[in-house]
């Protein structure tokens, strides 16, 4: 049975996929069908973040209830393997975030509309979270 930490990372991955998927379904078709000024993305971005946080909280509460015994016996991050998984996942997520920030910066330097920079950062941050959660899960399972 997966531990609490693994379930928490799975929750992050599922929340990210749901929120990012919903956002892209709402925004991408608009980009191809109307001028950039008329594309509505700000409200969608806020809703996507709320969806992400809500699914994350719900999944973590569910994982905490099903892993009550484990949580009562030890800290959430309690051994060397957990620490290594956390650090490796966060480091990979950090690299992905760096790449997204660099792309956003280049787009602004090249005078693209801030829509593209904001969306590079948003999509990049969501993908960085996903990469981080997946690397943590793989490390916890001993695959990395």
């Amino acid at each position: 049975m997966p531990g609490f930490l693994e379930k928490m990372n799975r929750a992050v991955a599922i929340g990210t996929i749901l929120a990012l998927g919903w956002y892209l379904i709402r925004v991408v078709p608009q980009v191809f069908s109307r001028p950039l000024d008329e594309v509505t993305w700000k409200v969608e971005m806020v809703i996507a973040v709320v969806v992400f946080v809500a699914t994350l909280i719900a999944d973590i509460v569910r994982a905490a209830i099903s892993n009550r015994k484990e949580l009562g016996e030890a800290d959430v991050v309690d051994d060397g393997r957990d620490h290594a998984a956390e650090q490796r996942g966060d480091a990979w997520g950090g690299h992905a975030m760096h790449a997204a920030a660099f792309v956003a910066l280049m787009l602004l330097v090249l005078d693209f509309d801030p829509f593209w920079a904001a969306n590079s950062l948003f999509v990049g941050a969501m993908l960085a979270g996903l990469v981080s959660a997946l690397v943590k899960m793989l490390t916890l399972r001993g695959s990395v």
Partner: protein, 144 residues
Amino acid sequence: MSFQEKSNIAMLVVTGGTYAWYFASSADVLLGGRDSPVEALALTNMKMLLTVGIIIVASIVAHIAIAIAAPSEANEDADERDKLVEMRGDQRGGFVLAVFALGAMASAMTAQPYYLIANLILAGLVASELVKGVSKLVDYRRGV
């Protein structure tokens, strides 16, 4: 002191020094609103490119100097400790960048001038590199 540790100190000094100059010399443009947004973007873009050039040249010179001072150390591969120190630095730097990215996204959503958003992203990248460098410096000194 290992090659990796010296390299980290050199990059910390080069990055810190170069961007201290950049932000100090651009403060009147970024905070004062003296120039029009278009002029401000052109000015900061030019300086940004200059800082990239300075960092590339300075880091090459610094690494050549470090390698000449201790040629045997320069050929050593990174060991487990170096990798762990690097990972912890990446982890901490990633968190800092994520905060700045959130700020840049909010700036883009509230239609701030391009040059402010670009400089917020740049500040995030620099702050993340500095946090990473300081984290590595502390971890090398105190041990991990």
